[in-house]
């Protein structure tokens, strides 16, 4: 059993209530920070901890905070990104619904460090029941004097509100989230200016993931150095991994960074192996946007070293033989899973969720979806495979926000590692379709594709 930071209260009855959370030592970080530390000291501890953004980017949190502009007379804002929508990722929802006060405590500590007097938790709209849980917990915190004016008599004021989204994946991108919070379409902004200079309503703003913010309380209570001792190298601390797909024990696990991937997949403490005793075929390690890896490459690096759950080890070898930690959405696929169908499915997702601002993303994701659809449904041509590689390459790096990259990487990596499977779909369309999810049982065989040509 590794160190538990975010899930330390797991299983405590009533932990979602203020009373129980307080009895478990909750809000001690707020007391410590507000009563005995300056905002600069709080920031320094977070820097020392090596905590990196847990939403997917992995950027050092303390460094991000230090970029916040502090012009006189202009309010600053902290916005918690709880717009969890990345396929494979479902950790924040559980954290918020089971232990809402841990996020609220992190919001108070982080807002204090940043000099923010108003903060928002932007929750994906679908999670209305989570919104209600958070609102109830926030009301309790106000009642107990941990939010509002003159918190704990320290002179620090903070108002905290929950903002519901409207069901758009793109709002997980920080500038799109800011636009959405301002009551607009979630169209990402061109950077610079970065939110740290011009964010919500043009004011300096920090946007952090739920997990990132929730970790700050432990860091303040125990010290940044203690946090940095957990993990390996620049991958410090713990990480929530949401595991799903064809595994025996899907769920959310808090791991110390550095755990071998093989142990995560096969040990009873975590995923418990592949369901039905089947063989592992492939893994998407950090949410749908990161490159997929075949079993041999997710278990070991190209040098034959055990692959570890760290930012560096997962990325070892670059995109040729590695992937990314991303948001920790761990999707395991067994030997029966169809890579072509899964890739088509992800591409449909990105096409649907593209905001449409940039032509490469708007047009390219739809183009890839159509080509993958016709390959999957038995109308593909060999040249389609290279066409996909070409379109993906032309989307990557050519859009305002990372959604273009997120759409391109699954396609490029799937073809890089599973080209033979794409070719088999083209050569043996009827055989391949019968294999896929047993769909032949109810779907028309080889239906007409969406478009004949693109």
């Amino acid at each position: 059993m590794g160190v538990k930071i975010l899930t330390q209260h797991s299983g405590v009855p009533g932990i979602d209530t203020f009373e129980v959370y307080r009895k478990q030592g909750g809000y001690a970080a707020v007391e410590k920070a507000l009563k005995s530390m300056s905002p600069e000291e709080v920031l320094e501890e977070v820097k020392k901890s090596g905590l990196r953004g847990r939403g997917g980017a992995g950027f050092p949190t303390g460094l991000k905070w230090s970029f916040l502009a502090k012009p006189e007379g202009v309010p600053r804002y902290l916005v918690c990104n709880a717009d969890e929508s990345e396929p494979g990722t479902f950790k924040d929802r559980e954290l918020m619904s089971r232990n809402p006060h841990s996020l609220i405590e992190g919001m108070i500590v982080s807002s204090y460090a940043l000099g923010a007097n108003t903060s928002y938790i932007y929750v994906r709209g679908e999670l209305f029941y989570v919104i209600r849980i958070l609102e109830k917990a926030i009301a309790e915190a106000y009642e107990k004097g941990l939010l509002g004016k003159n918190i704990l008599g320290t002179g620090y004021d903070l108002d905290l509100y929950v903002q519901p989204g409207g069901g758009a994946y793109i709002c997980g991108e920080e500038t799109a989230l800011i636009e959405s919070l301002e009551g607009k379409r979630g169209n990402p902004r061109i950077k610079p200016p970065f939110p740290a200079v011009s964010g919500v309503w043009g004011c300096p703003t920090v946007v952090n993931n739920v997990e990132t913010i929730a970790a700050t309380s432990w860091i303040i209570l125990n010290g940044g150095d203690e946090y940095a001792k957990i993990g390996i190298g620049r991958s410090t601390g713990t990480k929530l991994i949401s595991a799903c797909g064809n595994i025996n024990q899907p769920g959310i696990y808090e791991i110390e960074l550095g755990l071998p991937v093989e142990e995560f997949i096969y040990s009873d403490e975590y995923c418990g192996g592949i369901a039905g005793g089947k063989r592992l075929k492939a893994v998407v390690a950090g949410g749908s946007s990161v490159p997929v890896l075949p079993a041999n490459l997710i278990l070991k690096t190209i040098a034959g070293e055990p692959r570890l759950m760290t930012y560096e080890s997962l990325a070892d070898g670059g995109f040729a033989t590695g992937t990314m930690m991303g948001s920790g959405g761990f999707i395991a696929m067994d030997e029966d899973a169809c890579i072509v169908r899964n890739t088509w499915n992800f591409t449909r997702f990105y096409h649907h969720e593209s905001c449409g601002q940039c032509s490469p993303c708007r047009e390219g994701t739809g183009w890839m979806e159509k080509v993958l659809h016709r390959i999957e449904y038995g109308h593909g041509k060999m040249s389609d495979i290279d066409l996909l590689v070409d379109v993906a390459a032309k989307i990557e790096g050519n859009t305002i926000c990372p959604l273009g990259d997120a759409a391109a990487w699954p396609v490029g990596s799937a073809i890089r590692h599973f080209r033979e499977e794409f070719e088999w779909h083209v050569k043996e369309p009827r055989l391949s379709q019968q294999q896929n999810y047993g769909l032949a049982a109810y779907a028309d065989p080889l239906p007409v594709p969406v478009t004949e040509e693109s």
Partner: protein, 174 residues
């Protein structure tokens, strides 16, 4: 489906909620309340946003109606056409498909005789496949109103449909 004609106005209770929501934002930034207000409006007016409802929301926020239309049409949670009492939002994204979501969707289509986007003739159910619901470890998953139904099978789906029919009550997000 018959569309009821109703006066477009929030109840006093809802208006009090609106006033509270507006206090969350700095003065002059009331447009930020648009998404929360659209959710309330949708829940109040038969779970869809007609042009009249959107115009009403624009008036409450003192913004142009087009500002509401462009937002309402961008976010998938807002229905711009009448829907059934129960909108069956089934996740059709990768992880749920790996564990059988496509079979559950096909089962619903066959059982209710509707395709995605369609509503049953009795106005009870609308089928709306959606992208990831962030419940990937517990798939296949379907959202109906504010409730998530997880680890679905065709049999469990049948039970749910039967229960909804018996309850016969409009399900909304809030």
């Amino acid at each position: 489906m018959e569309i009821e004609t109703r006066e477009i106005r929030f109840s006093e209770e809802r208006l009090a909620e609106v006033r509270q929501i507006l206090q969350r934002y700095p003065e002059g930034r009331q447009k930020s309340a648009l998404l929360p207000l659209l959710h309330i409006a949708q829940a109040e007016f038969d779970n869809w946003l007609s042009p009249d409802v959107m115009d009403y929301v624009a008036g409450l926020l003192d913004i142009e109606p087009i500002e509401v239309y462009e937002v309402a049409s961008f976010y998938t949670m807002f229905n711009l056409r009448p829907v059934g009492k129960y909108v069956l939002e089934i996740c059709r994204t990768g992880p749920c498909c790996l564990v059988g979501a496509e079979k559950v969707q096909a089962h619903i289509e066959e059982k209710l005789g509707i395709k995605p986007g369609e509503t049953t003739p009795d106005g009870m159910f609308t089928l709306k496949p959606v992208e990831c619901l962030a419940a990937c470890g517990f798939g296949p998953v379907m959202q109906v109103g504010a409730t998530y139904y997880e680890k679905l099978t065709p049999e469990r789906t049948d039970e749910l449909l039967e229960r909804f029919r018996n309850e016969n009550k409009r399900a909304t997000y809030c």
